[in-house]
């Protein structure tokens, strides 16, 4: 049976081997994005420190921030990649993700309103795409599957749109 050690969250009736992964290049995407964020955040902290002048050694806070940032760049993308999985099933779309905060979502095909593809600048550079599945819900309103190869994203989008058929009115 599933134990705490398995990286995936056990899903009754959901065969983990049937889950599709994201494209491997997405880890590079995440690394670059996190690196940029770390640099910006450290710069902001340095700036704020210069203005506010808190009673701690000057190097302390920026070093901590930078160290945490570097740690996420090194370790987070791989863990996140492993945690992502999706499957288009007979009646619904199953998506699961999350390293610390885990979430598994089921979106019935009949509830899909429309499906968008989205490509940010980094994604375009790597030849990747995200798809965004829109429902009428609030909490799970848009489920985004990132890091798909462009062709796969288009195929998935068309597949879901065909299954969804415009979705039910509310």
């Amino acid at each position: 049976m599933n134990t705490e050690d398995t990286p995936a969250m056990a899903e009754a009736g959901q065969d983990d081997s049937a889950l599709r992964c994201l494209d491997g290049r997405v880890t590079l995407l995440w690394r670059v994005a996190m690196l940029i964020r770390t640099v910006v955040l450290t710069a902001i902290v340095l700036g704020a420190q210069g203005v506010l002048d808190p009673p701690v050694p000057t190097a302390l806070i920026p070093t901590v921030v930078a160290a945490l940032g570097i740690a996420t760049v090194l370790f987070l993308p791989q863990a996140r990649f492993r945690s992502w999985g999706y499957q288009v099933r007979a009646d619904d779309l199953f998506v699961r993700r999350g390293v610390l905060w885990r979430i598994a979502s089921v979106i019935p095909h009949t509830r899909i309103q429309h499906v968008d593809t989205r490509r940010g600048p980094l994604e375009r550079w790597l030849g990747l795409s995200s798809i965004v599945v829109y429902t009428a819900g609030i909490r799970g309103a848009d489920v985004t599957i990132p890091g798909l190869a462009r062709a796969d994203a288009e195929l998935l989008r068309d597949h879901l749109a065909a299954l969804g058929g415009g979705g039910d009115a509310v």
Binding site: E4, E11, I103, A104, V106, I138, R139, D168, A169, V170
Partner: protein, 510 residues
């Protein structure tokens, strides 16, 4: 109306079916003027005076006064050019002075139609009509102001037109209650002043009101109003216990004040609360100063909440709320749900829920508890902040704060109470989730309104092998979705599949 529909579409009292363009009531000009006055002239007066009557102050004041003239002219032109009519399954609004705008609202998309009267509007016999469509949180159309009879007639025409557009059967009983003729509608509930006093007295929001009042009085002190300095005789040194007493006394005062305001607010705001149901629509009429009439098509209801606050549970009272897609913004709401009935006695909750969900039996529900480890998780979530706060206060303020740590065992009691009020139930066609100690909320979600289902785990939940099931609906606003918190992980995963299957198999949502 001399058409063939004459026998099935009884005329509303006093107004013809508006197929020719209609204008707003002339009193619109008065209300526009009042609104302009509020926006321009009041600040002008205040600005002029508070700036000490100097040159800048006067320029500011006169500037604003001048601006009010074109604003008034614009409002007059807007009134003169505004036209509305119903044509062929659509409500058409034409407005605009320089750029003409035509807004067409298909009647089938209409969701909420409310008439709203401020105190002054009630005195003068006019009302505002607000129309809302699905998929929007804003009001699509505001007709401000119409004669009350015209407003009610238009409301009725829109509703019957909507039913026809949707293809639902209509009979002679389709006519909504107008002018007090309620024999054809089914009266669900009516609240007397005594009930409203009880509602206000037991409302959890009393605490919130107290906090708001306290903040408001704080803000008053910031205003540049100079009060005469009172001449106090020499005050003896205040000792710490006295200060503590004074603070406690002040807190008590605000709580009592908030409680009082809550009661008065309920008695006035929900005065003569009447709930009726007529052929697929729920209708609320309430209010003393501003009389409100809200209509909710039942098929737009996404979920229902039965709320039993701590104060109400011993008296076996509850309050009922509805989550609709695109709830009416004209409603004064402190939460994001539309009030269905502010106060209900527990035995009446079952028939009331049955009025909205005919095949649902609240009384027959048996709740399953969540996993006992939920207690452990709740204990950690409560105890850790207390201990951290005690430590921080002890370090930065006063070591005596460490005594706060004695609260920790009490946190276990709190965790146990939290656990006892968690639960879920699966009824035919409905998913029910319950949670909360201070305010026990029972969600009732029809299967066909379920949009998506999620199973979430925080790191702490993973540690305890727990999970939370989130049932998402289209209910608008800052609504929390229905959640079953802290299920055992195995239960959670099987429930995820079960609820998703129910949503898939349910008849078309709509």
């Amino acid at each position: 109306m001399q058409s063939c529909c004459a026998t099935t579409w009884p005329l509303s009292v006093g107004a013809a079916m508006p197929s020719e363009p209609h204008s707003l009531h002339p009193l619109t000009l008065v209300f526009s003027a009042i609104s302009v006055g509020r926006s321009f002239l009041l600040p002008a007066i205040f600005g002029g005076f508070s700036a000490g009557g100097g040159d800048i102050g006067r320029m500011f004041a006169w500037g604003l006064a001048f601006l009010s003239v074109p604003a008034l002219l614009y409002a007059t032109a807007k009134y003169a050019t505004f036209r509305y009519r119903i044509d062929d399954d659509e409500l058409i609004l034409d407005s605009g002075v320089l750029s003409r705008r035509r807004r067409v609202i298909p009647l089938a998309r209409v969701q909420n139609i409310d008439t709203h009267q401020s105190a002054l509007q009630r005195l003068t016999g006019v009302a505002e009509l607000r129309v809302e469509t699905a998929g929007g949180d804003r009001t699509e159309a505001v007709l401000e102001v119409l004669a009350l009879r015209d407003a009610e007639a238009l409301q009725a025409e829109l509703l019957t037109g909507r039913r026809v557009a949707l293809g639902t059967a209509e009979t002679a009983t389709d006519r909504l209650a107008i002018d007090g003729d309620e024999t054809l509608a089914q009266r669900l509930a009516h609240l007397r002043p005594a009930d409203l006093v009880l509602a206000g007295a037991t409302a959890n929001e009393a605490g919130l009101i107290a906090a708001v009042l306290a903040a408001a009085i704080q803000m008053l002190e910031q205003l540049p109003i100079r009060l005469p300095e009172p001449n106090f005789p020499a005050i003896p040194e205040l000792t710490t216990p006295m200060i503590l007493l004074a603070v406690l006394g002040l807190i008590l005062f605000f709580i009592l004040l908030g409680w009082f305001v809550s009661i008065v607010g309920a008695v006035i705001g929900y005065h003569d609360f009447t709930l009726t149901k007529a052929d697929g629509e729920l209708r609320k009429d309430y209010g003393l100063l501003a009389r409100r009439h809200a209509t909710i098509p039942i098929e737009r209801v996404q979920a229902m909440r039965v709320e039993e606050s701590l104060l109400r549970r011993p008296f076996r009272l509850a309050s009922l709320k509805l989550a609709t897609a695109g709830a009416a913004p004209g409603e004064r709401r402190r939460t994001s749900a539309q009030v269905f009935l502010p106060l209900a006695r527990l035995p009446h909750v079952a028939p009331l829920t049955a009025a909205v969900f005919p095949d649902f039996d609240y009384a027959a529900l048996t709740f399953s508890p969540v996993h006992p480890r939920a207690r452990r998780r709740a204990f950690i979530r409560y105890a850790v902040p207390v201990l951290l706060a005690a430590a921080a206060l002890a370090y930065f303020v006063n070591t005596n704060a460490l005594w706060l740590a004695v609260l920790t065992p009490a946190m276990y009691g709190a965790a146990h109470l939290h656990y006892r009020h968690l639960g879920y139930a699966l009824a035919p066609g409905y998913v029910i989730a319950r949670a909360g100690f201070w305010n026990r909320i029972t969600w009732i979600v029809p299967d066909n309104k379920i949009q998506t289902v999620h199973l979430t785990q925080t790191p702490l939940q993973r540690r305890h092998r727990l999970a939370t099931l989130v049932v998402d609906t289209a209910a608008g606003g800052t609504f929390k979705a229905a959640e079953v918190v802290d299920l055992g992980r195995a239960d959670g995963t099987s429930l995820l599949t079960t609820v998703a299957q129910r949503a898939i198999r349910a008849r078309k949502a709509g």
